[in-house]
């Protein structure tokens, strides 16, 4: 039998719960401050605007592309080189109240004039009017809010309220840190990123459910146990599962991130960060929140100290 975590290992994760709580809070505060200063870079899905994704036959650079695209009609153009080999660029123009239909045409014809029709290949064109952007934004917010609420209600109904709070805190922790990472690394928020964030939410809840389930089971089996020791034992008992599941999922996500190409890159990055943060919060945050509330508001007939 191969074991990643030798049987009977007891690491006192909860001993560090003050330190990890502080680390998490500091990271979240820093991250949110960064988000507040830099602002979330909304993609055209939500902000409206136009985007042209091009590939050049010969190597070129951002300035050359900018020079080719810019003219009187296109005031503020954002040029971004995409990673992953190939000479691919994103040309973006922020939303305008009218004329967004013609913007993409203008960009493609400017590029064709500068680089020759054979020198540039138009891979993707997107254009979202301001009204559509607004409705997409609303629907995305609604979807995320309702999905999160629904999960909260389910956990609250299936477990005690302490676990509900634990799940809620772990979830907020994961989403906030992932969002901060997206902003720090300059990814833009679009519908695909929202879908990825929702996967992170699902994954985070999944992890928390597994830990909560084990704590609940141990509590039922051993009604006298020291709560600190019991929560810690539960985390340790599920530790090899946590590492194995995260590990295998990360294989797939890492493959997606490295090999998936430019379009899926932001999505894979979100999952990568979210799953790592999610695993951390499963081990260090979810359980200790349950313990925190158990110590202050113990369930009837349970000894805490």
């Amino acid at each position: 039998m191969i074991e990643i975590i030798p049987h009977g290992t007891i690491i006192d994760f909860l001993k560090y719960r003050r330190v990890t709580a502080i680390v998490s809070i500091v990271l979240i505060v820093l991250g949110m401050a960064f988000v507040a200063i830099r602002g979330i870079n909304f993609g055209i899905d939500f902000a409206g605007g136009s985007l042209v994704h091009v590939r050049f036959a010969k190597e070129t650079d951002t300035d050359a592309v900018r020079a080719a695209v810019s003219d009187s009609a296109l005031a503020s153009v954002d040029i971004q080189k995409l990673g992953g080999g190939g000479d691919e660029y994103l040309v973006r123009v922020p939303g305008t109240s009218d004329g967004h239909e013609d913007v993409t045409k203008q960009i493609t014809s400017n590029l064709a004039t500068a680089f020759g029709a054979d020198g540039v290949e138009i891979l993707r064109v997107e254009s979202v009017g301001p009204r559509v952007g607004e409705s997409l934004r609303e629907r995305a917010i609604l979807a995320v809010a309702f999905a999160t609420l629904m999960m909260g209600i389910y956990i609250w109904a299936r477990f005690e309220w302490r676990f509900g709070i634990g799940a809620g805190v772990a979830l907020a922790h994961d989403v906030l840190l992932t969002t901060a990472a997206l902003v720090v690394f300059g990814y833009e928020f679009d519908l695909t990123i929202v879908a990825a964030l929702l996967s992170v939410v699902g994954y985070s809840v999944n992890d928390t459910v597994v830990i909560s389930d084990r704590i609940r089971e141990n509590m039922a089996r051993d009604r006298r146990a020291n709560m600190h020791e019991l929560v810690n034992r539960s985390i340790n008992e599920t530790l090899s599962r946590t590492i194995l599941t995260t590990g295998t999922t990360l294989f797939v996500v890492l493959a997606l991130y490295l090999l998936g190409g430019t379009v899926i890159n932001g999505f894979a990055f979100t999952l990568l960060v979210g799953f790592i943060v999610g695993t951390y919060s499963t081990v260090f945050i979810a359980g200790s929140v349950v313990l925190y509330f158990e110590e202050r508001y113990p369930a009837a007939g349970r000894k805490v100290a």
């Binding site: 239909e101 629907r139 939410v201 008992e237 493959a255 998936g260 999505f267």
Partner: protein, 533 residues
């Protein structure tokens, strides 16, 4: 464990695998053998992001449709009043949904009768009498407003559908969305700009008399516009063939005839080599009208105007009977063909604008498929190898469950006729992660039970039983969120939600039910003394 229960479950599993295989056939084999033809449309279709194509959301200007409707009715009312012998009736649109009519006091009763009998859609909101004239403010009633809006969108949808059909795109999607939007998806289209022009062109054809063929002085504002005239511009093309605004021309505002009399439009060779004209055939009413117009205006220039651009302004040589006119211009073959299509399919009842466009070129689509597939296979193989290495027999069993899981998912996507998109692939990856998790949870539990010294049978039973609540809880919560996402999400989020929900169902089935079946079978045969895990 009961032998019969194992048999039933085995039959169920075999049946489902067989069914999945059948549903997968149309996606793998083409053409299908005749006896399977009922499955023809049960194919996993690739989303536009994977196969390339154009996705458009067109927004119909329904307020403009209402304004036009009021305009048309105001003009009709003026003509009707004059026919009834009312002297100098004045009718004009005064707001988006209102019109003002003014008649001499003596004709107040005639006005009342005409309004009651022929214009029930208008309600009088105010009446007053000044200087011997009755002035009534008319308002389009609310039901009529919504009916006009409704029919503007319906008609636009129909017109756009006809245009796309004649343009020739395979398997287009044309759907109404929300109050005034139309969703158009054109898979695998090569020239999206041309398609956009064709679909979005309002295509209002008008015939107007030319007052002054050189209207530069009027357009620059050097000379005041004579009453009842307007400045329009000729169609011009630059050296790369882009259409632009040409010379100004002064035409009379009055429209003599519109394109609604057209019954057919065709591309014909022009007089010059390699040139083309578009000929239009009119119905009998149009033919009579055209004969009248040309007869009355011999030697004048008649401007043929499409969407406020003058295409040509030929001089009328003689009265033209027969109801045929031609439109000239330096058309390319594509332009002439598209022009004939929009003339044949008629004008849109209201202007449409493109509210959202997403075009994926065929190379990127193919690239995304290839890369998505490669990363999926690389990641998947790593997981399979690891599981088999770590859990040995139990790992191989889990691998089998994972492979069957993918098979079931794709089969269900095919059965529901769902579309596979990039976010959909992401949904598959997430559910695979959760399927692995279910197997890991079960196997870790079995190991724990074995450590407590239980027999193989007891350890397996306890392992599955104890792991089940956590597996169900996590899958149900994710499933619930998937349902919500499907309900509220749009586009990519919906695609993600569909594969997520399908994947969760099949992963619980394969990870819990199928693997258990194998253990139960081996236990019942007595071949399982120690668990390889």
């Amino acid at each position: 464990m009961n032998q019969r229960s194992i048999l039933y479950r085995a039959l169920l599993a075999l049946g489902l695998i067989l069914l999945a295989g059948v549903y997968l056939l149309p996606s793998l084999v083409s053409p299908l053998p005749g006896w399977l033809s009922f499955l023809e449309d049960k194919k996993v279709s690739l989303g536009l992001d994977l196969q390339g194509g154009t996705h458009l959301i067109l927004s119909v200007d329904i307020d403009q449709a209402v304004r036009s409707y009021v305009d048309v009715n105001a003009e009709q009312l003026r003509r009707d009043l004059r026919e009834e012998g009312v002297a100098g009736p004045q009718v004009r649109r005064s707001g988006d949904t209102t019109a003002t009519v003014s008649v001499p006091e003596a004709s107040a009763e005639t006005l009342q009768t005409v309004l009651d009998e022929r214009f029930p859609a208008f309600a009088t909101s105010s009446t007053n009498t000044t200087d011997g004239r009755v002035v009534r403010e008319l308002t389009l009633v609310a039901e009529e407003i919504s009916r006009v809006k409704e029919s503007a969108v319906d008609q636009s949808l129909e017109t756009i559908r006809n245009r796309i059909d004649q343009f020739g795109v395979s398997e287009p999607v044309i759907q109404r969305q929300g109050e005034a939007d139309i969703l158009v998806q054109l898979p695998g289209i090569q020239d999206p700009d041309r398609a956009k022009d064709l679909i979005g062109r309002t295509a209002v054809l008008e015939f107007k008399l030319v007052r002054d063929p050189s209207g530069a002085a009027y357009s620059a504002g050097d000379q005041a516009l004579p009453a009842g005239t307007q400045v329009l511009y000729e169609l011009q093309k630059n050296e790369v063939g882009e259409r632009g605004r040409g010379a100004a021309m002064l035409v009379e505002s009055r429209t003599l005839m519109t394109g609604d009399v057209i019954v057919d439009a065709r591309v014909r060779p022009g007089e010059l080599p390699n040139s083309r004209i578009v000929s239009i055939d009119m119905n009998s009413r149009g033919a009579r009208l055209f004969e009248e117009i040309t007869g009355e205006n011999v030697n004048r220039q008649l401007a043929i105007i499409l969407d406020d651009t003058v295409y040509s302004a030929p001089r009328i040589q003689e009265r033209i009977p027969g109801g045929r006119a031609i439109i000239t211009g330096s058309f390319t073959a594509d332009e002439a063909r598209d022009l004939a299509i929009v003339l044949r399919t008629g004008a849109l009842p209201a202007p449409v604008s493109i509210a959202e466009e997403r075009t994926v070129g065929p190379t990127l689509g193919a690239d995304s498929i290839r890369r998505g597939f490669t990363s999926f296979v690389v990641g998947g193989v790593l997981v399979l190898v690891f599981m088999a290495f770590y859990y040995r027999f139990a790992g191989v069993l889990a691998d089998l469950a994972l492979v069957l899981n993918v098979l079931f998912m794709v089969a269900m996507l095919a059965a529901f006729g769902a579309t596979l998109t990039l976010p959909g692939i992401a949904g598959i990856v997430l559910t695979l992660g959760m399927a692995v998790d279910a197997n890991v949870l079960i196997n870790e539990r079995i190991r724990e039970e074995l450590r407590l010294g239980k027999t193989a049978r007891a350890a397996i039973e306890a392992g599955y039983d104890r792991a089940l609540p956590a597996i169900l809880d996590s899958n149900i919560t994710t499933f619930l969120s998937g349902v919500i996402l499907f309900q509220f999400g749009s586009g990519p989020i919906k695609g993600f939600a569909v594969t997520l929900c399908i994947g969760l169902v099949s992963s619980v089935f394969t990870a819990v039910v199928l693997t258990r079946l194998v253990y139960d079978y081996r236990l019942s045969r007595g071949t399982l003394k120690t668990v390889s895990i």
